[in-house]
């Protein structure tokens, strides 16, 4: 900045204004890391706060269902109440089997949220890692990973699930984790392909070349510079898959290769509603609404996260 000592007639001397302080570039402080920076922006965004609160509530419901209903969901299902309308103590009415819809939705939260969240995490870990490596390194790494993905792509879901559930280990321990395993095993290639595409798009960008010429190692540039710039589609896919996996669990359970009947889930109730769609479509409404709200929370969180992480709008 040029000194304006000569123009003291018109404005206050620069020493007396806050301008110098404002314009100073602090070089002694380390730049904020990407994540710290994102967090700083994130915690002020209403979208993030709302979605975080919603997810928190969902988690509380999932792990402490007893706080929200006194009715044990699986006991005392009476056919006399089949498809019954809402009544005192049963605000959502009854299912085809005469169980309390509200209690089932509350108690179904845990399995559904676990399947959705952990399957997505699993898919992210495997899919993003393999996809990023394939896209970034190209060549034979890409060939091996991509072709492996093709093989898994071609595996019919039903066949894969039937075989996996037959493995002695899973046969004895049918649980949420079995379902998560099956989903991750068969769904990672999609995430890998998407990540690979996004990484290929970014890897040739100028700032990567710049980083590399500054001596940043390949793997470091992948983690620090390529991936953050490729996050948007990954977040979108992950948040959408969360919902799709919860419904997928229902399909597997319906076929007898998912959760045992005693574990409640929204998916189970959604597919059970199939027998009532001509007569009592309302039973579909509540589990589907619970699922929608969950997916919505995660989509909002994803949106907020994407905005905060977007390097193009990042402060420096």
């Amino acid at each position: 900045m040029k000194s304006n000592q000569d123009t003291t007639h018109f404005v206050a001397p620069i020493e007396e204004t806050p301008l110098l302080a404002t314009d100073a570039v602090k070089t002694d402080q380390a730049p904020l890391s990407l994540w710290a920076d994102a967090w700083r922006k994130l915690r002020r965004r209403p979208l993030f706060i709302v979605s975080a609160v919603m997810i928190l509530v969902i988690l509380v419901v999932a792990f402490f269902p007893g706080l929200f209903t006194q009715t044990a969901p699986n006991d005392n299902c009476q056919l006399a109440n089949s498809d019954g309308a809402p009544s005192a103590g049963h605000p959502f009415g009854f299912t085809f089997q005469g169980c309390d819809v509200y209690a089932r939705v509350i108690y179904g939260t845990q399995a559904s949220v676990m399947v959705g969240v952990f399957a997505v995490i699993g898919v992210l870990i495997i899919g993003v890692t393999l996809g990023a490596l394939a896209g970034f390194y190209g060549g034979w790494v890409d060939s091996v990973i991509a072709r492996l993905g093709d093989i898994f792509f071609a595996l019919p879901l039903v066949l894969g699930a039937l075989v996996v559930t037959q493995l002695p280990f899973f046969r004895e321990n049918k649980s949420v984790w079995t379902v998560i395993m099956i989903i991750v095993l068969l769904a990672w290639p999609q995430m890998a392909r998407l990540t690979r595409g996004a990484v290929i798009e970014v890897r040739n960008a100028d700032f990567i070349t710049a980083a590399r010429s500054l001596g940043v190692s390949r793997i470091q540039s992948l983690i620090k510079h390529v991936l953050p710039n490729a996050l948007a589609p990954i977040i979108v896919l992950a948040t959408m898959e969360l919902g799709v996996f919860i419904v997928l669990e229902a399909t597997l359970s319906f076929l007898g290769i998912g959760l045992p009947g005693s574990i409640m889930s929204w998916g189970n109730d959604i597919s059970a509603a199939q027998s009532s769609i001509r007569t009592n479509p309302a039973v579909l409404l509540y589990p589907a609404a619970a699922l929608s709200i969950t997916v919505l929370s995660f989509i909002m969180l994803g949106d907020a996260l994407r905005d905060a992480l977007d390097p193009k709008s990042r402060q420096r």
Binding site: R147, D150, A154, P156, L159, R196, T239, V247
Partner: protein, 309 residues
């Protein structure tokens, strides 16, 4: 470029062998005796079971069965299924139907997904954006058996705009309704992927440059924002082919489409190894080629992307 394509096509061979081996083994490992299952609750005589087992090579160990399958394959003889039908004829029947259905669904999800996604991305946070978000939630949360059924009832029965089922009458117009139902879920993905990319690219330097240069808004949107947003969308579309071709079990059931999904599902439940492997082999070829096309599209969409050699 030619070399790149050739190399990719050569990779089909190990993928093909890997897939057939894996799938054949999985069918082999399926629980339940397929021959006994043909007879329901009333078992036939042991002699008949033994005769059938021999007929389908099921009395042989796994490696012999797989070897026989490969040998037959290279002599272009896919064998017969448990109903005595030549598998090649079955493939020739179901694949054309499924290809038509998949193309139609792909076009529908691409046109609507990209179109709506673009508008939503450009008007982030506005009413249109919120409404399509709501629509995607509905599509995710309500299973296809309900959505498909409702479409069928409304357009097929009440309004009478379309034939409710396909059956023997396979044509582009009868497949429109099932293609629409099939496209719904992927449509939500395409839409949100497009939207996210558009939002990200709208603030990019080259968009500001283009605008500053005085380019018209439509030109900026189409040539700069949209084109640069297409990579994740194209990737997804390529990857979604699998679901459209092999996984359309429910949709095909609802609309009685005589396609691959139903055939594959039946064959799995009946443990008909050769049929399952034959179908999956064709599917794998489709994926490899679709992925190759996607990779070629990358280079066209973003000139910075170059494939070595």
């Amino acid at each position: 470029m030619i070399q790149f394509i050739l190399r990719r096509l050569l990779q089909v061979i190990p993928v093909f062998l890997g897939t057939t081996l894996l799938v054949y083994f999985m069918v082999f490992a399926l629980p339940g005796d397929p021959i006994r299952a043909l007879f329901g609750d009333r078992p036939p005589s042991e002699a008949v079971i033994a005769a059938l087992r021999q007929q389908y090579n099921l009395d042989q160990p796994f490696w012999v069965q797989y070897g026989l399958f490969l040998k037959n394959l290279f002599t272009f003889n896919l064998g017969v299924d448990f109903t005595g039908q030549p598998i090649a004829a079955t493939l020739g029947r179901v694949f054309p139907v499924t290809v038509m259905l998949a193309i139609e669904a792909l076009v529908i999800q691409a046109v609507f997904g990209i179109g709506f996604g673009l508008i939503a991305g450009l008007r982030k946070g506005k009413i249109f954006d919120s409404s399509v978000l709501l629509a995607s939630l509905v599509v995710i949360a309500i299973p296809i058996f309900v959505l498909g059924f409702v479409l069928q009832l409304v357009f097929g029965v009440y309004l009478g705009w379309a034939k409710p089922t396909v059956g023997t009458d396979v044509s582009w117009s009868t497949l429109l309704l099932p293609a629409f139902a099939l496209a719904l879920v992927s449509f939500a993905y395409v839409l949100r992927l497009t939207r996210a990319s558009v939002i990200e690219n709208s603030t990019a330097d080259y968009v500001r440059t283009a605008t500053a240069k005085g380019l018209s808004r439509p030109r900026v949107v189409m040539a700069h924002i949209l084109r640069n947003s297409m990579i994740p969308v194209v990737t997804y579309l390529g990857a979604s082919l699998g679901g459209l071709m092999g996984g359309a079990i429910v949709t095909e059931g609802i609309f009685n489409v005589p396609g691959v999904g139903q055939k594959l599902y039946q064959a799995i439940l009946r443990s008909e190894g050769p049929t399952v492997v034959a179908i999956v082999s064709v599917l794998v070829l489709v994926f490899v080629i679709a992925n190759l096309l996607v990779d070629l599209l990358y280079a066209w969409l973003d000139p910075r992307i170059r494939y070595e050699k």
